[in-house]
Each structure stands twice: as structure tokens, then as C-alpha cells.
């Protein structure tokens, strides 16, 4: 099978940010994404709480350029005050044109 290398960007954030993050991702040029509800704890020790919901994980497969654009937005608008992490890894996909 013919595969292409693309970047998988994973963002884990407080659930409240879902719509805003999706908006930012779309704006950066991503064509699709997957959201799952997740739970966990990080360096801030506790989540914002029962009333504000759990965490979400957003997975996006994009090229490196778009991933960087999203990271810049995260760095500017989200990292300072919200519970958010993001990481990149390389993945192999078929049908590259679906993603970029």
C-alpha cells in the first residue's frame, strides 16, 4: 500500500474549550478532526471541576505547516491560562488528499 507521512497533532484540554479549539483548528486549515472525552490530571494537579466537565482529546492529522500554525495559536491564547497540552508525532496515512 502506498502511504504518505503526515503529522498527528493531539491536543488534550478542558472540555469547555472544545468549540473554541475546533474553530482554531479549522481556521489553521485542518480538514477534519476527532474528539473524544478523556480524564486525567496534569501539572496543575486538578481539573477545573465537576461543574465544568472533564477533558477532551482532539486528534488532527495535518501537514507540519498547519500543525505549527495551530501550535502558535495554542501558545498565544491557551497555554498561559488554560489546562491544555499538545504534542506531535509522525503517522502514515493512505489517501493523503483527504487530510491536506
Amino acid at each position: 500500500m502506498n502511504t504518505h507521512n503526515l503529522t498527528l497533532l493531539v491536543i488534550v484540554a478542558e472540555a469547555l474549550l472544545k468549540d473554541r479549539l475546533i474553530h482554531s483548528i479549522r481556521e489553521a486549515g485542518a480538514k477534519g478532526f476527532t474528539v473524544t472525552e478523556v480524564a486525567g490530571e496534569g501539572s496543575r494537579q486538578r481539573r477545573v471541576g465537576e461543574l465544568l466537565g472533564d477533558n477532551i482529546k482532539i486528534e488532527v492529522i495535518v501537514n507540519r505547516e498547519i500543525a505549527d500554525r495551530v501550535l502558535v495559536v495554542l501558545q498565544k491564547d491557551y497555554f498561559p491560562h488554560f489546562a491544555v497540552i499538545a504534542y506531535l508525532s509522525e503517522v502514515q496515512v493512505v489517501r493523503e488528499e483527504k487530510y491536506v
Binding site: E14, L16, L17, R20, V48, G49, E50, L51, L52, G53, D54, Q75, K76, D77, F79, P80, H81, F82
Partner: protein
């Protein structure tokens, strides 16, 4: 029913694994808010609009005063940061629907049927938003000013540029679950009137077993949440604890007083007082978290839920009732 709340706290204290599923909590709050709006609308369909005028003005005045008094107290007496003070003020400026329901029940039990004006749920919706808006505006403007005077160093994130527009915040508050359910229920109630309501009365009426049972379960959940916040009390500090008790008493007295000025009877004055005294925990937390992320959620959630809500439930409501009787609302 207060016992269910206390039971929830006890469950947390003995570290029971009991937890109300999040979806049930959401369902219960949808049910309670919708029932509240529906019944309010049905009552409205039979009352005079002009009776509503003065109490509505009084409510809006309360909605404008409580966030400002809370902010000033926190900022200048409590020495909280701008964001924290504004975040907490947004909660105290808004209103808690469950406190409203509990107060209404208390008054009805003491003074009997018809002792609370039928349009009170309308006032509840009026009070929900202005307080949050005013406190958020104070916070956003205050932060912008202090950032400008500090001449933000290069490299530090300029949170003002990424601040959401007031339009977006308005949209969010007006379309928030609590608002949509209350207003939507009310409109349906006005349209169907008593006759239409009769067919769903056993399910939605506040006097029926279904509503009371749902409220009891909801209070149990509130107790669980409050209980898990108790450990945060130490972090919140003594000032916030005092604030969470004294501020409601002041706001409650204001609400009772303005209610009597607006010509409300003693029962309705009590409800208005409790509304002014209560702190929101459905509409306010997400709005504050999104708009003023600098504010520490531990402060506002703990104050609203672990201090003020139980205080009002146990001591506040009877106190506002006494005030209302003493002032002898018309």
C-alpha cells in the same frame, strides 16, 4: 430535603465512592430549570403585566448592584487580584435557581399557598445575566487597563488581544442552557396556559412528587460537589469564607428591602432577598472560565458552592424570611 445535601457532604467526608453520573446531573438540571420556566409561564399567562413592572426594575437594580459591591469588597478589603475579584463577583451577581426553589418551598410551607407572587421565575431570568455581564466587563476592562499601564514586556502573552468580544459573551450567556430552558419553558407556559399545563402537571408541577424527588436528588449531587470542595476551603482563605457568609446577608437585606419598596408581599420579598443573596453555579462558572481564565476557579467555585449555597440553604433563607416579615412587605 436539606438532609440530602448534608448526606452528600457526609458521603464525600467518609470518602464513599458514591457519585451521581454526569449525565444524570445534566438531566436533572434540565428538568428542574424547564419545570421552573414552564410553571412560571403558566402563572404569567394569568397575571397582570403591570404588576410586574416595579419588581422587575427592583430586580435589575439588584443585578447591577450586587456584582459591583462584591467586586469592590473583594478587591479592596480582600486584596484579591482583578481577575479573581471579578470572577467571584460574577457568581454573586448572578442567581442560583436551586436556592430560588428552596426559598419558594420554605415560604409556601410557612405562609401557605399563594404567598409567593406568580411572576417570581420571570425575575429569576432577569437577574441571571446582568450580574455576570457587569462583573466580566469590570474584569476585562480592569485587566486591560493594568496591562496597558504595565507596558507588557515582549514575550509575555498578551491576553487582551485574544480576549473574546462582548458580542460572543452575550451570545453565550443568552443561549446558555439555564437561560434557554427558563425562557423557553416560560414562553411555552404562557402559550398553553392552565389548560394545556394540566396534561403534564403531574410531571412538571413544583408541588408534585416528581419535582420534589428530582430536587432532592439534585441536592444530593450538590452536596457531593460541595463536599469535594471542602478541602479547598483552606486554600480559599478566611477572608473568602467570611465574604461567602456576610455578603449574602447584605445582598439579602438589600433584596428584601427593594422588594418591599416595589410593593411585593412578604413571601415574595423573601424570595427576592434569597435571589439577591445567592451565587450562581450553573451559568456563571463556564462564562467566567472562558472570559476571565486568569481567575482561579478554586476561589469562585468554592465560595459559591461550598460556602454560600449551604449557608443560604441552612441559615440564609430563614433569615431573609424574618427580615421580610419585620419589614412587613405590603
Amino acid at each position: 430535603m436539606v438532609l440530602a445535601f448534608a448526606f452528600g457532604i457526609v458521603c464525600r467526608l467518609i470518602k464513599s465512592e458514591l457519585a451521581i453520573p454526569r449525565d444524570l446531573y445534566t438531566s436533572l438540571s434540565i428538568y428542574l430549570l424547564f419545570a421552573l420556566g414552564l410553571k412560571g409561564g403558566v402563572e404569567l399567562s394569568h397575571s397582570e403585566w403591570k404588576e410586574l413592572f416595579l419588581p422587575a426594575i427592583a430586580t435589575i437594580v439588584i443585578g447591577c448592584i450586587t456584582p459591583i459591591s462584591s467586586y469592590l469588597t473583594l478587591r479592596h478589603l480582600g486584596r484579591f487580584s482583578i481577575a479573581d475579584a471579578a470572577g467571584i463577583a460574577a457568581h454573586y451577581g448572578s442567581v442560583s435557581a436551586v436556592t430560588f426553589i428552596a426559598t419558594e418551598k420554605f415560604v409556601l410551607a410557612n405562609l401557605g399557598e399563594g404567598s409567593v407572587a406568580p411572576f417570581m421565575p420571570t425575575l429569576l431570568t432577569l437577574l441571571e445575566i446582568p450580574g455576570i455581564q457587569i462583573a466580566l466587563a469590570i474584569g476585562v476592562l480592569g485587566l486591560a487597563k493594568s496591562n496597558a499601564s504595565k507596558e507588557t514586556a515582549p514575550g509575555t502573552p498578551d491576553s487582551v488581544s485574544s480576549r473574546r468580544s462582548m458580542g460572543a459573551i452575550w451570545h453565550e450567556l443568552l443561549t446558555a442552557r439555564s437561560m434557554v430552558l427558563l425562557v423557553g419553558g416560560m414562553v411555552i407556559g404562557i402559550i398553553v396556559g392552565y389548560d394545556g399545563f394540566a396534561s403534564v402537571k403531574p410531571f412538571f408541577d413544583k408541588g408534585e412528587w416528581m419535582f420534589k424527588g428530582a430536587l432532592t436528588l439534585f441536592l444530593l449531587e450538590m452536596g457531593l460537589v460541595a463536599g469535594s470542595r471542602l478541602s479547598d476551603l483552606r486554600r480559599a482563605g478566611i477572608f473568602l469564607i467570611i465574604f461567602g457568609i456576610v455578603m449574602p446577608i447584605i445582598h439579602g437585606a438589600l433584596g428584601v428591602y427593594l422588594g418591599s419598596l416595589a410593593g411585593l408581599d412578604a413571601g415574595s420579598c423573601t424570595v427576592l432577598g434569597a435571589m439577591a443573596a445567592s451565587a450562581s453555579y450553573i451559568a456563571a462558572p463556564p462564562a467566567v472560565r472562558m472570559t476571565l481564565p486568569e481567575a482561579n476557579p478554586t476561589f469562585y467555585l468554592t465560595a459559591a458552592l461550598a460556602i454560600t449555597f449551604p449557608f443560604n440553604l441552612l441559615f440564609g433563607i430563614p433569615l431573609y424570611f424574618r427580615m421580610a416579615l419585620a419589614i412587613g412587605g405590603t
